[in-house]
């Protein structure tokens, strides 16, 4: 039984890993444990656990229909395992959903907030009902083991309702398998045309039957390997024969659908989507169908395993393609599941596997006790089929499994990203503030500094001004830099002690305080506001209180009436400063540039309106008092800075 112990050990380990992720999934949220993005909100959990899980569970209704509806009683021996697989498959789907949906405690809501126009609403109901039906279908297997009259009565009632339950199961499955395809009908804009089709529900349904058959084959092969039990090969080859027909039909429907909608040319377009599609069609349908069409391959374990394995893999790939891979071309974003997502997906499957082992080892899943006239109430521990004693309850095994579980749990916790903080914002690649040198000089006419880019040839030229240490800051990460005079800021704010005014403000993610935190009115007129002039003008109307309305407030710019409240329409057309994409220089407009752009338009406009009253309004000297007479010209919008080659060279 080393095989059983080995497989179970691995499964317990994987469950332990998933348990670690589970803790953080519910503590820290989806952002921490998934790689999902706003443009790819559905990922591995929907693609594999939900879409794949439901499809893999299709064996249940296919075999139930075969046995009960078509009266092919020889398949009865695999009915119970198939129903059990389906039941556990659905349990896995529900489990996967609990991880994936953001607010799992609201999962019951579709029951009460009916939204019959939503495909997901239908899916939710089908999952709910069919899971219940599957449990009822399987329950007799458990009930038959207990002598209690209540359990026996329940057993008899359930047995009595077998046929209605089976038919209800088939009805629900038909809807459900196809409605998973319906989910994507509303996304023609997301799904690649090769996968999108108005009859995608039909694709899903037919492929589910094919997958159901091949999954039953796979599952029989695996359990016969693990328990070294006899393989019902003639049964399996019968299933394979049916699978061949279904898979051929599936391939035919797919291709005919493409032809009918005029999409055949996509098939050999050579894009990676077309390759993926062909690959998927080949391994999910064509290869297994071809294999299963040969009687020889059907009779050999290798042939069965290859065909069923390919089909199962191919169809799961199909579900993942539809829910994710086929949307990449539209959304232009890539998504690759994080290891934590894989851990959950694999962990759920492993847990289902363990449950399967438990049920197989403790109940009559693989045979019908009544037929064998055995004592049906005997609680078996030997495997009913292989007759080998199982060590489920042996202490040594329990110790081994729990050790593996705990080790995996610890490993998972250790590996968790952002274990304490939860998810942190990603560093979007930014140019760090770059250091450059510039000449700094102050003209007598203006309180502002003028900067010229440092040129070693001019180093000795006294006119060029002192050399200053500058920073180029790209605050909004758009590759446009602000020229920041670090030295002057430091000096004006009080020398070296002032660093803390901008740095280390203990704001989350803040390395240095943004400019606007101090220059609150950067976007509006600032120093051009002539306080004296306004005070003089408004003397008659009350003076200071005209703007500083609230006597309790400090008389600062922040608390004063905004300019726009008196000067309506202060901002005239085109007076805003926005760096144009077209003439990028790599450097954001400087203060001077900004002020010019803000003011000049208005000055020009006002000049036109009242030429008599203010003849010089649109002249440079209107603001730049004391300028040379030769500068008395009508201004034009300030020219954009020339290429800052020197700056970017450094």
């Amino acid at each position: 039984m080393i095989r059983v112990r080995f497989v179970k050990g691995i499964l317990w380990f994987l469950v332990g890993l998933a348990a670690a992720v589970t803790i953080f999934r519910f503590l820290k949220g989806l952002g921490t444990v998934t790689a999902l993005t706003d443009t790819t909100p559905w990922g591995l959990w929907i693609g594999f656990d939900v879409l794949g899980g439901v499809a893999l569970a299709a064996g249940g209704f296919v075999i139930a229909a075969t046995v009960y509806i078509f009266h092919l009683k020889k398949y009865e021996p695999i009915l119970r395992p198939a129903v059990l697989t389906a039941c556990l498959g659905y349990a896995a789907v529900v489990g996967g959903l609990m991880f994936d949906i953001g607010i799992p405690w609201n999962i019951w809501r579709p029951m009460f907030f009916w939204q019959e126009h939503s495909a997901l609403f239908e899916v939710a109901w089908c999952v709910m009902l069919y899971f219940t039906v599957l449990q009822l279908e399987f329950l007799p297997v458990i009930l038959e083991k207990f002598k209690h009259p209540l359990s026996q009565t329940a057993y008899k009632i359930l047995k009595f309702f077998t046929l209605p339950l089976v038919i209800l199961g088939i009805m629900l499955s038909t809807l459900h398998q196809s409605s998973l395809g319906t989910l994507f009908l509303i996304m023609p804009h997301r799904l690649h045309p090769l996968w999108y089709s108005p009859i995608i529900p039909l694709h899903f349904f037919v492929s589910a039957i094919g997958l159901g058959l091949t999954m039953v084959i796979t599952e029989s092969l695996v359990s016969s390997w693990i328990y070294k039990k006899h393989l019902e090969k003639d049964l399996l080859s019968g299933l394979a024969k049916a699978a061949a027909i279904v898979l051929w039909a599936y391939a035919a429907i797919k291709v005919a659908d493409l032809a009918a909608t005029g999409k055949l040319h996509y098939l050999f377009a050579g894009t990676w989507e077309s390759n993926l599609f062909l690959f998927e069609l080949l391994i999910s349908a064509i290869l297994p169908a071809a294999l299963f069409s040969s009687a020889k391959a059907r009779q050999s374990t290798g042939g069965l395993a290859a065909g069923a394995g390919l089909a199962v893999f191919g169809f799961v790939l199909n579900r993942i393609a539809v829910s994710g891979l086929a949307t990449i071309s539209a959304t232009q974003t890539d998504y690759f599941p994080s290891w934590t997502e894989f851990a959950i997906s694999i962990g759920i499957v492993s847990a289902a596997g363990l449950a399967f082992f438990f049920l197989v080892e403790n109940f009559y899943v693989y045979d019908e006790p009544r037929a064998e006239k055995r004592d049906k109430y005997e609680i078996v521990s030997p495997d009913p089929v292989g007759g080998i004693r199982l060590h489920w309850s042996s202490l040594a095994d329990a110790r081994l499994y729990s050790l593996l579980f705990v080790v995996a749990l610890a490993l998972g916790i250790a590996l968790m990203p952002n274990i304490v903080t939860g998810v942190t914002p990603e560093r979007i690649e930014v140019e760090k503030a770059r250091r450059v040198d510039a000449f700094r000089s102050k003209s007598d006419a203006s309180p502002l500094y003028l900067y010229a880019l440092y040129n070693p040839d001019e180093h000795d030229n006294p006119e060029a001004g002192e050399v200053a240490e500058m920073l180029l800051i790209d605050g909004d990460r758009n590759n446009k830099f602000v020229l920041f005079d670090h030295g002057t800021h430091e000096k004006n704010n009080g020398g070296p002690e002032s660093c803390g005014m901008c740095h280390h403000m203990n704001k989350p993610l803040d390395k240095a305080t943004s400019c606007y935190e101090c220059h609150t009115d950067m976007f509006l007129t600032t120093d051009t506001f002539q306080h004296e002039y306004h005070r003089e003008k408004l003397k008659e109307q009350g003076g200071c209180v005209k703007c500083h309305k609230d006597p309790a407030e400090p008389k600062t710019r922040e608390t004063a009436t905004a300019c726009g409240e008196c000067h309506k329409n202060m901002r005239v057309p085109n007076s805003f400063v926005k760096v144009e994409e077209a003439d990028q220089t790599g450097i954001a407009p400087g203060y001077m540039n900004v002020m010019h752009k803000l003011c000049i338009e208005c000055h020009k406009q006002k000049q036109e309106e009242k030429v008599e009253l203010a003849p010089d309004l649109a002249r440079c000297a209107a603001c730049h008092q004391g300028l040379d007479e030769s500068m008395l010209m009508v201004v034009e919008p300030y020219p954009q800075p020339q290429s800052m080659s020197l700056l970017t060279q450094r």
């Binding site: 706003d38 009266h71 607010i103 609201n106 809501r109 997901l120 990460r477 085109n574």
Partner: protein, 276 residues
């Protein structure tokens, strides 16, 4: 019912982002962060319900929820958390949302965003300031109010469409002769006038005029029929096959005088339960 709408004239927008700021302040969306799950920091996000996309040659295009007349997001919501109000806005009820994110998958414009960083995450998108307008706190959305250029305006949908066509007529050389959103995906409540093509706002250049929910509905409305049909067919098949097998058995029994019931191993075991 009057459908309230927003008309944005791309040719008038100067990209000052006053609307973005107003929206953030009014709806208290919080600070933008460079999260891993958004494409760019200045794209829409859970904290940025409207944004300005710069396009070449001084074009600024405001992006926000289109408030479709037949919204895909609302039609797919399995609990009705996303829903269309009679006044026009498509709004979201975080109390009943279960976080399936189907709305995010279905929206042809890729609008709804998720607060992935939170342990209890919600969907976020522009709600046309529905709460503030219906409570009377605001007369019009914060963004349209804030626009200094009247590049984006609020009004009754019919009127805005008329106004838009008027502008196109007045200035046929400037505009693309089409009101974006008048017919797309069945019509949207956020309309655009533009001199550049706005196909980039959707996942696909041309989304077509058919309302997206119809694509699902043509299948979903057949569901009850299929459900009953499958049930009837299955029972019918069962009945026919069962009857035929019984007849066969009887014929066999008659033929061979031997009355061994276990003679047929294929049907023997299940006779009890299947025929009850």
């Amino acid at each position: 019912m009057r459908q309230m709408s927003i008309l944005t004239d791309v040719t008038k927008c100067i990209g000052c982002e006053e609307c973005v700021k107003a929206c953030k302040e009014t709806n208290k969306t919080g600070e933008d962060q460079p999260w891993r799950w958004q494409r760019k920091i200045d794209d829409l996000s859970a904290t940025r319900w409207t944004t300005i996309l710069p396009r070449p040659d001084r074009h600024y295009v405001r992006k926000q929820c289109r408030h479709c007349l037949e919204p895909a997001c609302a039609s797919v919501c399995p609990v009705g958390a996303m829903h269309k109000t009679p006044e026009g806005p498509v709004v979201y009820n975080s109390k009943i949302c279960m976080g399936c994110r189907y709305c995010m998958m279905a929206c042809p414009y890729g609008i709804p965003r998720y607060t992935w960083a939170d342990a209890v995450p919600y969907v976020r998108k522009c709600i046309m300031c529905y709460d503030k307008i219906s409570s009377g706190e605001l007369e019009q959305p914060a963004c349209t109010k804030a626009c200094p250029k009247e590049a984006t305006i609020y009004g009754e949908r019919e009127e805005l469409i008329r106004l838009a066509h008027g502008r196109i007529e007045e200035n046929p050389d400037l505009y693309i002769p089409k009101v974006f959103g008048e017919h797309e995906v069945g019509g949207t409540s956020v309309l655009y006038l533009s001199d550049i093509d706005l196909g980039f706002l959707g996942w696909k250049e041309d989304l077509g005029d058919e309302p997206l929910p119809m694509k699902t509905w043509v299948v979903l409305n057949k569901v009850p029929g299929i459900f009953v049909g499958v049930g009837v067919t299955m029972f019918g098949l069962y009945w026919i096959i069962d009857r035929r097998m019984r007849l066969q058995e009887e014929a066999l029994e008659k033929k061979s005088a031997s009355t061994d019931a276990q003679h047929d191993p294929e049907t023997g075991t299940d006779k009890v339960e299947a025929k009850k």
